[in-house]
Amino acid sequence: MIRRSWFSALLAAALSLALAFLALPVVAIFTDTSPGTLIARLSDPVATDALQLSVETTAIAVAVIVLVGTPAAYALSARAFRGRATLITVLELPLVLPPAVAGLGLLAALGPEGVLGGVLGDLHIQLVLQTAGVVVALTFVSAPFYLRQAQASFEGIDRSLVQASRTLGAGEAATFLRVAVPVALPGLLAGLALSWGRALGEFGATLMFAGSFRGITQTAPLAIYDQFATDLPAALALAAVLVIISGALLLTVKLVAPREAGLAGAVR
């Protein structure tokens, strides 16, 4: 009896500590500065430019990820081939790569002096220090979140559904569109929300690969870093907006994700 009560107290204390530590910074963003100041600071052109750029670049990145990632994840789940496990590991590598390393890698691959630099130069495509470069960095960093979740969702589909579709006259492509994607949809949406959240918060790789130029490559996280030395309320205002958007994305994941797959991807 006594033992159980001290253990219960320990558990409660640990939980309270975790909650306080993890929630406090988020709450502080909203309480440190008055709501009026926060809203006023949001009309600052630096903030609006950064937010607009963030929304645009992350939307493009996520669209690319979904368009390419969905069939790619389906291939990983539905086809057995040699080296599949290795391939999956390579695709997941950006999950654990330090952002600075990711940025360097992108420079080494796609920069003017990079592996593909010559080819891109011939095609008059410039990525470094350009908005397109931001999209590339965001895609690189957040694609694995979607790929993982989408692959798990496709693997969760009962094989007999796919087979039933085939015997009913639907080819592989029709089966993918009419059965696999709709059945996996909750998981795909969860993956989309996760990768979007990751893209919104991207900092290091973008800074290294695309730089931080207002209106061109300065996304909201970069603007926060830029502002916080000079104008803390403005930085806090931007931070508050990001917290709200991230919270909304997390809520989406919780609501649409199949219970078990849930946050598997988020906890990498």
């Binding site: 009962d158 087979q163 085939r166 015997t167 009913l168 006259g169 059945v183």
Partner: protein, 360 residues
């Protein structure tokens, strides 16, 4: 009269895990072959190979003039072109689609309105039109099965394949679903193939039954033939109980009296009313020389003629004609004493307590 549909012919050789599948089968149009065997016998694999959702290492499948598979010539027709109606064991209804959209799935060639009309017409035939807008998850097992059948039949398949069609249902739903299914199979104009682990189910649904074990079809024939003259002890044991049908119409004290289709009366300790099926294990039936002496009141007696005598080691299977086919299993000594041979008249005796009743 529609032009006759082609029959299905297959020779399949395939190894999966420890099972080496090696079967040849032909099913004429309008007939139903039921393959019965224990789990792990390779039954589902046969259906998958026929439907084209798996490729055999070696084999040839034809339906009429059409070649679906010929590994020697490198022919493999995709499942969507074979168009086998396939009813999966777990029904595999699309969870994101309503019942009618499930049925309409295979009707892409029709226009929107026709598709809806045809799906509803099929659901109507299965008394499911009220549930046309229901999602599969909200349907009972029996309802799901009917939607799955309607879906498989909707595109007018070239053949119908059913994987354990009744096993996912509870005992009560099974009897009525079995009746419905045999009526549908009787009206079918294409070849049908059922696999099941339950010999009784196979006997009920198949025009012909093949017993399959270890990847091979051991014996084929009518259910009563297999029970009466099994090719091996395995088939004899697998065929299990003899099933006879009749109408329960009177009670005699604690017993239910059933008038058998084809003549004769049998009593059972089970309760029932109306059309019923009775099952008795062959080893519960003893044979006596006629006439039947009414010595014990609880015993059933049926006058029968011996149609086959099959020796299986130390036991003898005796096929009997008694209005409906019966099977008895006796010792070699008893067979000798009765001088059992084709044409000999005997009396089949079994206890009312050994007679199980299933409502139909």
């Amino acid at each position: 009269m529609k032009p006759a549909s082609p029959g299905l012919c297959a020779e399949l050789g395939h190894s999966v895990g420890t099972i080496r599948l090696d079967v040849g089968l032909e099913v004429p149009a309008g007939r139903c072959l039921a393959l019965a065997g224990p789990s792990g016998a390779g039954k589902t694999t046969i259906l998958r190979l026929l439907a084209g959702i798996a490729r055999p290492q070696r084999g040839r499948i034809t339906i009429g003039e059409q070649v679906w598979l010929d590994t020697e010539r490198g022919v493999f027709m995709a499942p969507e072109l074979r168009r086998c109606g396939y009813v999966f064991q777990d029904y595999a209804l699309f969870p994101h689609l309503t019942a009618w959209r499930n049925v309409a799935y295979g009707l892409r060639r029709l226009g929107r309105r026709q598709r809806h009309a045809r799906a509803l017409e099929l659901l109507e035939r299965f008394s499911m039109s009220d549930l046309a807008d229901a999602r599969p998850a909200t349907l009972s097992g029996g309802e799901q099965q009917r939607v799955a059948l309607a879906r498989a039949l909707a595109p007018e398949p070239s053949a119908l394949l059913l994987d354990e069609p009744l096993s996912a249902l509870d005992a009560r739903g099974r009897a009525s679903a079995g009746r419905e299914l045999s009526a549908i199979l009787a009206g079918l104009e294409v070849p049908a193939l059922i696999v099941t682990h339950d010999f009784t189910e196979a006997a009920l649904l198949g025009d012909e039954v093949g017993v399959i074990d270890g990847g091979r079809i051991i014996q084929r024939g009518s259910a009563s033939q297999l029970a009466a003259a099994p090719a091996s002890a395995f088939v004899a044991d697998f065929t299990g109980a003899v099933v006879i049908t009749g109408t329960a119409r009177a009670r005699n004290g604690d017993l239910t009296v059933v008038a058998l289709d084809g003549g004769g009366e049998v009593a059972t300790t089970d309760r029932g009313d109306g059309p019923v099926a009775l099952s008795v294990y062959p080893w519960e039936i003893t044979l006596r020389p006629p006439p039947a002496a009414a010595d014990e009141s609880a015993q059933n007696r049926l006058l029968a003629r011996v149609v086959s005598v099959t020796v299986l080691g130390n036991r003898v299977r005796v096929g009997l004609a008694a209005g409906q086919p019966l099977v008895a299993e006796v010792t070699g000594k008893a067979a000798e004493e009765l001088r059992l041979a084709e044409g000999v008249e005997v009396v089949a005796v079994f206890k009312a307590t050994a007679t199980r009743l299933v409502a139909l």
